[in-house]
Structures are given as C-alpha cells and as structure tokens.
C-alpha cells in the first residue's frame, strides 16, 4: 500500500453511551464503546477490523457512516471533514455506504427488491425509471437474474441472496467506500465464500475501498490488506495483514490468533487462549485495558496507558512491552527506539488519553 493516498482518516474518535439514570439519579455511568480511536484507510485497500464482541467494532462502523454522532474526534474523508462546508453529510453519504449483518432486517419487507435498491438513487435525484434500471443492472452484477428477482419480496429470498441484494443496494449510489459490518457472518460457509469472492470482484470492478468488520479471523485474513485489532473501544494493533498474522506483536492479537483452530497437528496452540469475558466497558481497567487478561502483565501495566506506536517494530502496537522505558521488563531501552521510531507511526499514535 505504499504511496497510496488516504481515503478516510479517523482521529481521536470517542463515543460514550450514557446509561439511564434511575429515578433517584443513581447509576448514570457511560459505556465507553469507542474510546480514542485513530486509523486511516487507504484508497483501494481493504481494512479488516477484528475484535471480540463488544469491543466497539460496530459502533466504529456506525460512527464512520455518521449514523450516530461522535462525542469527540474527526472523520476526514478524502481530505475534507465530513459535515463541514466542503463536504455535506448528504454528499458524503453518496460516497460511503454500509452493508449490515442481518440481511433480512436491512431490507424493507414491504418493498420489492428493485424498489429497495432504487430507493437511494432516487433520494439523490435520479428519476424512478432510471433508478429501477440501475437496480436491475446491479442485481445482474451481484449474480441475481433481474427477471427472476427484481420484483420479488425479501422474504422469498435466501440469506445469501438477500445479502447480495444488500450489496447491490450499497453500490447503487456508486460509493467509493463500503463498510461491511459483519456482512457475511450470518451466512453459512459455502454461501459466505461465494459472497466474499463477489465482494472481491466488485472491489476490482468499481475501484472500491472496504472497511471489513468481522470476528472471523480467517475471513479477515482472506479479505484484508491491512488489519486493525480492537479491544474495549481502543486500537491495540494495526498493520499489514501478512505482518500482523505472521508476527503478531500485542499479547491480545497473539491470543486471538492462537484461538484459530489449526489444521496442522504439529502447530498446536501453545499460548493459552483468552480466559473469561472482556471487562465491562462501563468501568474499563486502568492503565492498559488488557492487563486483567494478559499473560505478560506486570504491575506497571495497571498504571501506564500504552500509546499506539511502532517502537522499532514492523507495525504500530499499543503495548508497554514495546514502549521504550515504559518500566515493563520486556521493554527495549530508551536509546533503541528514539532512532528507529518512524514518522508515519508517530502520526498514528494516540494522544494517550
């Protein structure tokens, strides 16, 4: 991806959901769903986003689509801030679309397939006849014969067919960025493979950029150029897919990867997989949020918040073991990092909130 321009840049994104107070005004904490996330998506790449459920993947997707408003942080699309003077929300929405996990719930049961797909172009001013024609062309493109499917209703289609319709719907506005939020997770394996290959074909044909959110690591590896690992609303590691899967740096990423069942009996799981559930995002652990489940945790991890930085390695990671002079016994010396810390990594670093 060297030399690629940045299509989407996210800086310091924060979304806290307030909890309802009871009648006496008690409670009223916040769920720190997304808590200081920085990353960028390059034009033409697929950025995979992985993490356990509840780590803020879907909230991030909804924030990127401006379906919910962030508490803090900037989303910069193609060099301009979304919702500002240069790029209105409506103009942004023509360029960025989303495919949801639940293929049935994301189609209006009272509209025919072609009307569902033709809806968005009509919103943006295309006359009905042309919008329907575009819908039929797209149906053919995603592998659904328009003559058979265009005037059907969602409940008459299988899950895989419906998800193809949703993909066609997302493409109807000819977007540049498509956010796939667990788009294939509800499909069975053979259908999933077909839809994944369709997504890859469409990406080449229309020059799309994907943000591919999934909890399925194999699928993410198959689809992604780069991968971002999230834990409790924060990015713990981000890098080229090959580098990240071959040489994971963060203990959490290592634990995640070791949870993939191996086909090779000689490559048994050696690192113990993760124990227990992620801590409550209402009251996340101090310091490094992962220290409560980390096999490498030391007392310093409960006090110091690691920054997302390369620290001399191949790609940015947020772990004190790679932060020079952090106090973790595995951390490198101060001198080593100051020379090898690279400029792009520094720009990715969190503010250490």
């Amino acid at each position: 991806m060297s030399g690629a321009s940045t299509l989407l840049e996210v800086r310091g994104l924060v979304k806290h959901f307030p909890l309802k107070k009871d009648l006496l005004g008690r409670g009223g904490g916040v769920v720190r769903a997304v808590d200081g996330v920085d990353f960028s998506v390059h034009t033409g790449e697929t950025l995979g986003v992985v993490g356990e459920s509840g780590c803020g993947k879907s909230t991030t997707a909804r924030l990127l689509m401006h379906l919910i408003e962030p508490d803090r942080g900037d989303i910069i699309f193609d060099g301009v801030a979304v919702g500002g003077r240069d790029l209105s929300l409506k103009a942004f929405r023509r360029q960025s679309q989303m495919v949801f996990q639940d293929s049935y719930a994301s189609l209006n049961p009272r509209l025919t397939i072609e009307d569902s797909i033709a809806f968005a172009p009509q919103v943006h001013g295309l006359p009905y006849q042309q919008a329907v024609q575009r819908a039929r062309d797209l149906l053919a493109r995603v592998g659904l014969e328009p003559r058979r499917f265009a005037e059907r209703y969602p409940h008459e289609l299988s899950g895989g067919q419906r998800q193809r319709v949703n993909i066609a719907r997302a493409l109807a506005l000819q977007p540049r960025l498509v956010i796939l939020d667990e788009a294939v997770s509800a499909l069975d394996k053979s259908v999933e493979a077909q839809v994944l290959n369709l997504l890859l074909d469409l990406k080449d044909e229309f020059g799309l950029t994907y943000v591919f959110i999934s909890h399925d690591l194999n699928v993410v590896r198959y689809m992604s150029d780069r991968v971002m690992v999230m834990y409790l609303g924060q990015v713990v590691e981000i890098g080229e897919a090959e580098a990240l899967f071959e040489a994971p740096r963060h203990p959490y990423t290592r634990a995640l990867l070791s949870s993939i069942p191996s086909m090779d009996p000689d490559r048994r799981t050696e690192v113990p997989p993760l124990a227990g559930d992620p801590p409550n995002p209402i009251n996340p652990p101090s310091g490094c949020r992962f220290h409560t489940r980390c096999t490498q945790a030391q007392p310093v991890c409960a006090q110091r918040v690691p920054a997302l930085a390369s620290g001399g390695g191949s790609h940015p990671v947020a772990c004190l073991m790679f932060e020079a002079g952090s106090g973790h016994t595995a951390a490198p010396d101060q001198a080593v990092t100051s020379t090898s810390a690279t400029a792009p990594a520094a720009s990715l670093a969190t503010e250490g909130a």
């Binding site: 909804r62 689509m65 379906l67 929300l89 409506k90 929405r93 023509r94 679309q97 989303m98 949801f100 639940d102 719930a105 994301s106 189609l107 209006n108 049961p109 009272r110 509209l111 569902s116 809806f119 968005a120 919103v123 943006h124 328009p146 003559r147 058979r148 499917f149 265009a150 005037e151 059907r152 209703y153 969602p154 409940h155 008459e156 949703n166 719907r169 506005l173």
Partner: protein
C-alpha cells in the same frame, strides 16, 4: 439413461415478463377470502353498509309516522313485521333507517382518531427522545379516565348533539390508537433498513413515507377496526343518555332508550335495537380478527 439426461438450457426458455410475486396486501386478501368466519362477518358488514346507504329507500313504511292506536304491537303484527314502538312507528323501518346514523356514529370517530392518532404516534415513535416523552405522557393523561366516563364527560361539557358526540368519541379513541402507532413505529425505526435509508441520505419525511408507513399502517388499521364496535356501543350509550342523537331521529342507541319502558310488556320489541347493535359490533370484531390473522404472515 439418455432419457434422464435431458436438461433445459435456461437461456432457451422463452423470454417471459418479470416474475412478479403477489404483493403483501394481495396475499392478505387471499388469506382473508379463505377465512370463513371473517367472510361471514364481511357479508353482514356489507349488508349493513347497503342498509346504511339505501335504508330510507328500502324501508316499507315511514319511520316517523306515529299512530296512537297501534302502539307496541308485537312482532308479526299485520303491516308491521317487527312490530311497532312506543309511539306506534314501524320498528322495521326505524331499524333500517337508523342503520345509517348508527354506523355513521360508530365509524366516523374511529376514522378521525385513526388519522390523528396515527400522526401523533408515528411522529412520537419516529422522533423518539424528548418529543416522544412529551407526546406520549400527554396521551397518558387521557388514560386516567375510563373511556365511557371520558366520552360522557366530554359530551356533557360540549353539550348534546351529533357533532359534539362525534368530537368527544374521537378524543376518546385518539390515545389508544396513538399508543399502538407509537409502539409499532418504535419497533420499525430500530430495524436496519431504516438505518440503511438514513445512511443513503434520505430525510426523515421520505423515510417515514417510503419505509415506515407501509409497515405500520397495517397493524394500526387492524387495531382501529376493532374499535368500531366499541365506538358503536359508546355512541349508542351517549344517545341512550340523551347526549347524542335527539328524538325523533331513528338511531339504535336512542331507540333502546325510548323502548326501555316497554321491557315488561314487549320484551322482544325492546330488545331489537340492542340486537342490531350486538350483531353489528360482533361482525366488525370478527372481521377485524380475521384481518389480524390474515396479516400475520410469517415473513
């Protein structure tokens, strides 16, 4: 083996028009037609509607013409197939002519309440937040009173008369319809296809028109039809109390009132307007039940 190997090249199949599946309402209609009870009720309702339109033309006698000589004649009395009332007026004619006013009093408030209640409920459900709380808590105030009491109180305050009782009945039915509208809209609003519509840049009004109305009007309509029976009974009740239709207009509730003195002498005659109210409300209820189950299509 060769015989089994015949395959059809899909491209050779003659080009046909787009395969069109029956729409939702078409399916509902077909299911309703197969429901015998609902169809029976529909026939009764249809008959009542015909009576409402053509009653005055079909009535065998003048419903206003009183005769002191032939008061409270029994059923089957010559010239009066259903007897006469306390002023000697032909009861059959009065029941037939009264259908129009009675149905009008039953259906009109529900229609108005359907429109207003749906608007309030859909706005509250779709907007959510403070506006929802403000609207729905206001609606809840009306729930504090039993509907009969509320109708009587409003009618009494506004004064007797058809218009005033229509207004008071409409007010009585807005809260429950708004409640139903709000709950189905809230349900629909959280579905992903509404999110997807928002993500496509559509405004709130467009989303409501294209994606919400089609999904919520059905359930609200079914609920509203079930209120027609209640409305008829309440309207009759208002007339019975002298708050609705005034004599000598024929209306079933009012007729029930004026005939109550004859309950010991001609119980069958006194009960007839009540029978009409009963039959009508049961028919509307059964039709509404049939519609409800016809609309419960697993989708």
């Amino acid at each position: 083996m060769n015989m089994l190997n015949i395959t059809v090249d899909p491209r050779k199949v003659p080009e046909v028009a787009f395969e069109r599946s029956p729409g939702y309402w078409q399916t509902v209609g077909r299911r309703l037609l197969r429901d015998k009870v609902a169809m029976g009720a529909a026939v009764v309702v249809l008959g009542l509607l015909v009576l409402a339109v053509f009653g005055p033309m079909l009535a065998p006698a003048d419903p206003y013409k009183a005769s002191m000589l032939s008061r409270l004649k029994p059923i089957g009395f010559e010239g009066h197939p259903l007897g006469t009332d306390e002023l000697g007026r032909d009861l059959l004619s009065r029941l037939m002519v009264g259908t129009r006013l009675s149905l009008f009093m039953g259906i009109t408030p529900v229609v108005f309440a359907f429109v207003l209640g749906s608007v309030i409920g859909i706005v509250a459900g779709f907007a959510g937040g403070m506006l929802n709380t403000a609207l729905m808590r206001t609606i809840d105030v009306f729930y504090a009173f039993p509907s009969v009491l509320l109708a009587i109180a409003l009618s009494g305050a506004l004064g007797a008369g058809i218009t005033n009782s229509l207004i008071s009945l409409t007010v009585v039915f807005i809260p429950p319809i708004a409640r139903v509208a709000e709950s189905v809209t809230t349900q629909i609003r959280s579905r992903d296809f509404v999110e997807a519509a928002r993500a496509s840049g559509a405004g709130a009004f467009t989303i409501v028109r294209v994606h919400v109305l089609g999904n919520v009007l059905g359930p609200i309509f079914v609920y509203a039809t079930s209120l027609i029976a209640v409305s008829m009974i309440l309207a009759s009740g208002l007339s019975f109390l002298g708050l609705g239709v005034k004599p000598p207009e024929p209306e079933w509730g009012l007729m029930l009132n004026t005939l109550r003195t004859a309950i010991y002498t001609q119980p069958a005659i006194a009960a007839l307007p009540g029978v009409m109210i009963f039959v009508t409300s049961v028919a509307f209820n059964l039709l509404s039940d049939g519609l409800r189950s016809a609309m419960e299509i697993k989708s």
